[in-house]
Each structure stands twice: as C-alpha cells, then as structure tokens.
Symmetry: C2
Subunit: 270 residues, 2 copies
C-alpha cells in the first residue's frame, strides 16, 4: 500500500486527522524511565501503543534521536509501529534537502534504513533535490511550505511576482513536481489564513500541520482552513502537549486522554 493509501485508510479507520509527533526529550521523561539505556525507545513505544487507535500517523523527529546517538532506537521504534500497528503511516521528520546524488543517500536513510513511509524535505534546492525521494513509488514526500516558527516569514513571506514564496512552493509542488501523487506539504497551524491559501492552490494534497498545542495554533481555524471537501486532507500534528501530558508512571494514560481530546476537538470542526 502506498503512503497516500495508508493515510486515507487511517483517516477513515481511526476517524482521526491527528498526527502524534515523537520528539523524545529525556529531560522530560518520567522518573521511572530515566537512566535506562533504551529510555527513548520505551518512552516512544509506550506513547505509540497508548494512542495508535486515535491517530492518522506518527511523526518521529530524527534530531531528538541523532543528538543522543539513538538511531538504533529510532529503527526499533518504527519497526514496532509497523509490526504492532500496521496501517498507521510513519513520517520521518528530517527536513532533508541536497543535490541529487546526496538526496539519493538521504532517501535510502529514510526509506530503507529507517523504513519510514514518508519523509519531510526542504524545497530550497528545487525540483531535482526532491526527485530522488519520488523514485520510491510507495513513499510520501512532505515538502516544507509555510512553517510555524516566527522566522518562517523571513523568506517564505517574500513577494515573488504577485504571490508569496510559500504560495509559489505550493504551486510548483502541485502543478509541476507532483507528477506521481506522492507529495504533501507542511503548513503551520499558526497561520490559518495561509493554510486556506495553500489548500486553494493544491486541491486534495495532504497537508501536515504542526503548531497546535504547545505552539499555540487554533484547532478550529486550522481545520476549517485546511480540510478538503471530504473532511480529510490534514495531518494535524501535536507533539509536546501529548508526550508530556503526564509526568508520572501514568504518562501513557495522560497522553491518551489528551490525544482523545485533541482528536475530538479536531473532529468537531470537520
């Protein structure tokens, strides 16, 4: 099954547009996990098992693993998701971007080594820096378009011939680069009006929307701006608000409770 098909099935089967972001920060782990060699894996696995029926995707952020020499735990985590929760796609949030011959290596890293179903990619280097990922026909490629951070405007909001740079990225992706239907876009929840602009440009293309929860994005505005006619089309990501909802041994049930609430809050406006 392709990434796009998996995502569509997960939207339906779990009645959810929620993506749980896995940004494991050991300093925030419950006390009983601290000091364990496999604490990162255990923490993430517990969150995954507690929320897998509530989500449309999981999104591990590779920097949190790489900073701690824990690529093996990321491999184990993604293998666990595939084995225990088949059908839930895994987006490796790596924001890679390089020329073709190097992009091929990053594609191998994401899709063969880590067995992710999709990867986030930076569009600054243009079409030939994106194509090597598309050579894996079952996989998804989620391009940065409009990011949720304050500095996102420095380049993305520049006017390029009557539209903003992020709109041009959306247009290039939708009209030229997405010949195989594998591309999605990252559009931050902190800017609902811009989610609506992107949706108008890209049709039914999946949008990954970070920025609700700890980053303060508004769920109702996000859903109304970004949903497709079918009431899907979105992976609305929440990381910290779910991962660190509880601090004790019951952190998994606290995470599940927040994930349920977030899914419901999203579904209220679909």
């Amino acid at each position: 099954m392709t990434f796009t098909e998996q995502l569509a099935a997960a939207w339906q089967n779990n009645d959810s547009l929620l993506c749980v972001g896995l940004d494991p920060d050991p300093a925030k782990f419950p006390a009983h996990l601290k000091g364990r060699d496999d604490a990162i894996f255990e923490f993430c696995k517990t969150i995954v098992d507690a929320t897998a029926d509530l989500v449309c995707s999981f999104k591990p952020q590779i920097a949190y693993f790489a900073a701690r020499r824990a690529e093996d735990q990321l491999e184990a985590l993604i293998a666990h998701i595939h084995e225990r929760h088949p059908g839930i796609p895994v987006i490796l949030d790596a924001k890679r971007g390089d020329i073709g011959s190097t992009a091929e290596q990053y594609a191998v890293e994401a899709f063969e080594r880590f067995r992710a179903d999709a990867v986030t990619v930076n569009p600054y280097m243009g079409r030939d820096s994106v194509e090597p990922y598309l050579a894996f026909p079952d996989k998804g490629v989620i391009l940065l378009c409009r990011t949720s951070n304050a500095g996102g405007s420095d380049l993305q909001f520049l006017d390029v011939g009557g539209e903003k740079l992020y709109e041009r990225v959306a247009r290039l992706a939708a009209e030229q680069w997405n010949t195989t239907g594998q591309i999605g876009l990252v559009v931050g929840a902190t800017f609902p009006a811009e989610i609506a602009r992107v949706r108008a440009i890209v049709g039914e293309m999946p949008l990954l929307v970070p920025g609700i929860g700890a980053q303060g994005g508004d769920i109702e505005a996000t859903v109304k701006a970004g949903r497709t006619a079918a009431g899907t089309g979105l992976m609305i990501n929440s990381s910290r608000a779910i991962l660190y909802a509880g601090q004790g041994e019951d952190f998994a049930s606290a995470a599940r409770r927040v994930a349920e609430e977030t899914r419901s809050a999203i579904n209220l406006h679909r």
Copy 2:
C-alpha cells in the same frame, strides 16, 4: 580557536583554498577495502591523511554515513582529523533546518556528538532556525545561498523586490543574522557571476563553493569571482574527482596528486 580563526590559519599554513569533500560511496572503493566493516572510515581516513597538508578544510557529507548506519565511523573520522591534523576545520555537510527547539538538537548532533567545527544549514525557515547553532560561539554555520544543482534556480533565482532570492539570503545573512561573525554561505561554482554578486554583498564572509570537478565548475572563474582582497575567503570543494581519482591500492596517492593539482590550479588565480 574559533572556526573562523582555524579556517584563516589553514588558508595560510597550507597555502590552500581547497576543501576536500568526504562523500564515501562503498561501490566506488578499491577492491582491497570492500567487505571490511570499517571500510568507510578506512577509506576516508586514508584520503584525509594523504591530503591534510593540501587543504583548508574537510567536509564529510553525513548522508553517505547515515544511509549505511555508519555514524560511528563518522564520529571516528572526525576524531581522527582533530587528533592527527589539528587546525584543519571539519565542516559537517548536513544541511539541517528546523524550528528552534529542534534546531538545538541538530546543533548538539553536529557540534557535541560529531565534534564538527561548522555545519551547513538551510535558510528556508528563517533567522530563528539558524540561531541555535550560533549559540555555540566557536562554531561556524554555513547557510545555503545559491546551490550548484540545476533545480537550484527554481526558488533561489526568483525575483524578490528587485533582487534574486539567493541575494536576499546573502543580504539577510550579512546584514542581520551574522551578529557574531560565525556565518558563511554556500555558493555553487556552476554560477561564477553569482559568486561575484554574493561576494559584493557579504564582504569578507567565507564562501563554501561546491561544484568544481565532477560537477563541471570552472576554477579560474570561481576564484576570480569569489576571492577576497587578501586572496582568501573561499573553501572550494572537490569530492568525487579527488576521492575516486584512483581505483586501486594506490588510491591515496592518486587522490593526493589530484588534490595538489587542484590546489595549484586554484592558487594560479588568487
């Protein structure tokens, strides 16, 4: 010593603007290295030891290690360079780019885990995605500006209010982001006229120039366009043309010969 100071010393001590890019592809290794568990480390270490007195920097490309689960060999390689060739700065070519809290993790990966002296970073997410790297005051941050690939023009060549996007990136870097003198830029050798534009905007800022050798960039045009008044300011990268100059057990001497020729060709025009 800071990255900038190390680089200035290496320009002078080795009379060289040459950066050797370490993009290890095991399929291209000499037969006697194939099948060894540490082949990537051994190959790169041999290249490094054969060329260290001819270069101003080494630039390992992390994707080639990550695709093969060889981060440990990258750690060992950079440790080897620091130990055996002190004073030669190591630029980790990773082209990272993410919001602040995640960028902090990538900075830890590059500077603490891998002990690189500088890292390449993608500017698409703006100033606050760059700042976490600058929090390491001895380290360098090399931002993508004008890349050497064909698709580089897709975004970088767009007009943004009377200048191209890559010129705006150069201007933002030089006039606003580089408050601590840690920033450099990537400008591809395939576009000498644009190297000259960037040099005019950024003053003495170091430029990392990929694209000579296998990618076909012209050395004379690159040096003339990019050198500073002092005849430095450039890290001119060559990877494949040096790494794979020889196919046999004498690959190190073949690499050294090409590195010497390249350094000389560069110095002819300084």
